[in-house]
Amino acid sequence: MKFIITATVAMLTIAISTTAQAFCGFYVARADTSLFNSASQVVLVRDDDRTVITMANDFQGEVEDFAVVIPVPTFIEREQINVADRALVEHLDAYTAPRLVEYHDPDPCSRYELKSMAMDSAHPRSAQVLEESVGRSRGVTIEASYTVGEYDILILSAEESSGLIEWLDENDYRIPKGAEAVVDSYLKQDMRFFVAKVNLKEQAKLGYSYLRPLQVAYESNKFMLPIRLGTLNANGKQELYVYALTRTGRVETTNYRTVKLPTDTEVPEFVQAEFSEFYRAMFEKQTLKEKERGVFLEYAWDMAWCDPCAADPLSSDELRQLGVFWVDGSQGGRIGNGGQAQNVFVTRLHVRYDKDHFPEDLMFQETGDRQNYQGRYVIRHPWKGNSSCDASAYKAAVKERQEREAQTLANLTGWDIDDIRGKIDYIDGVVPEPGDAPWWKRLWQ
């Protein structure tokens, strides 16, 4: 018997029960090594009604045990499904990731050096498969069955949910409670489904040890991402990154609040070593502040450049492969800093969702906003060299700055101010005593 053990964005994941246990347990064990767990990444290319969606799931397990049921807003045909190179999504992730920037104070008696560092937000990536059973079940017709890359794709034309659910049952997949209602609702909204499973022979031939992202191109006036199936499993909150590539400007959700994360703030030097922890804590605090109903903007930028660059902008060729159909891919080559206009605007949204706080699918709109935004955090290293003049004024200013950075960090992350102070290498070597803070600052901590 197989179980659907998780469903990420736009996907219903199916796997054998033993894998299900290992799958859930696995994420708990990995909590320290990857930035966000249960993370899915979706690249959403959209212009008018034309949409290309690339889905990278972070499922880790035995690929033969895995299958995905993917809802799409409209009926699709064989040629509309493709398999993308995972490196494309990784590159987009690196390019748009929140970044830490460091500056070195110049000799107070007499320039600065800048170095940027992108947050390593690489997520464990996926693997997935399903059982062969092509045929006709009650209410379900397998419209087409074929192989794309390492996937076997079944396009289902279910007319009613019971048919699709029965078909999954007959093929030994067990789906989570409540899935039928959601599938039924989607079908009534003219959405269709396809099933993708790994073809082991093809996979071995191609030589991939992981599963590559699936791509679907379609034309629909629905600018949305179906997330409801992903909220059915009670395995906590899901992490989702949406990279929207559009022609006009920033993308935002119309039925949830899109919030910019705090940015351009100075944080203590030690954050460099703990950037992932810092970012996680800050994100957590911000989601709570938005009552766990916010969609967070992490990056909004014209794809032609970046400053500072966490990674090079994507080349025309890469963009074309991701589905940006209005870019001429023949130019190839990388676009450097300040390079040619690409006419592509990238928006990176980060959502942590569950059924209670995100009852509805994500609905989007493209805005005319082309203002650049990036998650950027700054550390400033004090001058530690010998000074040829009296640097006491400089040192006092640095001490004040270090204390301010400690307060900022405490506010952003909710970390204990004294723990933070303990980790700061104060310029005069003196850690401020807890008592140094006004009494009321500690009152409600």
Binding site: A181, D184, S185, K188, Q189, S220, N221, K222, F223, M224, T248, G249, E252, T253, T254, N255, Y256, R257, T258, V259, K260, E290, K291, R293, G294, P359, E360, M363, Q365, T367, G368, D369, R370, Q371
Partner: protein
């Protein structure tokens, strides 16, 4: 005592409440929610609207200058319109106030000023948009309270349009959820939209552009709700209510022709005293 009497007579005009509530919402949006309103745009909209009102009142309608309605339109525009270009914000104010003087049928302007400006800009330019999700559902309680407070303070004068709109829109969402078999948290979430409430309480409620008779207003509210629902959930386009109002506005003269009623005046004159205004804009 005189001061109070004066204040009381001032507050008989419901527009004062509207200005107060909208200003509070604006302050809350800019200072606390930080939802992308540029203060430069706000200044541009408020100033341009007053100048257009002055020019229109003096040279087109030839009536005394009354800043209040233009102030309300400015508040609504600032709350709903998003653009990075000040020139577009100013253009919006000109369209809004200009339409009141230029597009008129039987002594009434046809389009809600802020509404016509929003829709024109959305159609004409890629650089203007409405951020309907930016209020978030966390603050919706406070917002709903402010809106209801407005109804109570104005003693629900001519509130039929608002009530009919919300009731019909809510009903359609509920029926859709029942048909789809969706949990009720979905229609509830769809109703918990700040822009929807601002629209319902401060835009569609505009007595100058709604039908003259109570029955007409109920029919109009329901019409806007049905069109808004179709845009949002049949055609899956955003900003359903705002587009629906502009599409339904031309039906107001028709509804007025069928169902006759009193033309609305902002300041109800006391019995016996002559109205100061030739026509109220």
């Amino acid at each position: 005592m005189r001061v109070f009497a004066r204040l009381f007579s001032l507050l008989r005009d419901p527009r004062w409440y509207q200005v107060i509530v909208l200003s509070l919402l604006l302050g809350f949006g800019i200072l606390i929610l930080d939802f992308g309103i540029h203060w430069q745009n706000a200044i541009a909209i408020f100033t341009t609207a007053q100048v257009t009102q002055l020019v229109g009142a003096r040279f087109i309608a030839r009536v005394p200058f009354d800043p209040l309605s233009a102030l309300i339109t400015s508040c609504s525009l600032t709350l709903l319109l998003r653009t990075d270009l000040i020139s577009l914000a100013m253009f919006a104010a000109i369209i809004a106030i200009g339409s009141k003087f230029l597009v008129r049928v039987r002594g009434k302007h046809v389009f809600n000023p802020a509404n016509v400006a929003l829709v024109s800009l959305m159609l004409l330019s890629d650089d203007a948009w409405v951020s309907s999700g930016q209020w978030g559902s966390a603050t919706i309680g406070a917002l709903a309270l402010a809106c209801l407070g407005f109804l109570v303070l104005t003693r629900a004068r001519r509130a039929e349009t608002t009530i009919a709109f919300i009731a019909a829109y809510g009903l359609l969402l509920l029926v859709r959820a029942l048909w789809l078999g969706d949990p009720l948290s979905i229609p509830l979430h769809q109703l918990q939209n700040g822009a929807l409430l601002i629209f319902a309480f401060f835009m569609i409620s505009d007595p100058k552009t709604s039908p003259n008779s109570p029955v007409g207003r109920i029919a109009f509210g329901a019409l806007v709700a049905s069109v808004a629902y179709s845009i949002q959930f049949v055609f899956y386009e955003p900003n359903g209510p705002i587009l629906a109002l502009i599409m339904s506005a031309p039906f107001v003269p028709l509804i007025d022709a069928i169902s006759r009623g009193q033309l609305y005046r902002w300041e109800q004159p006391a019995a016996g005293s002559a109205s100061q205004f030739k026509g109220v804009y």
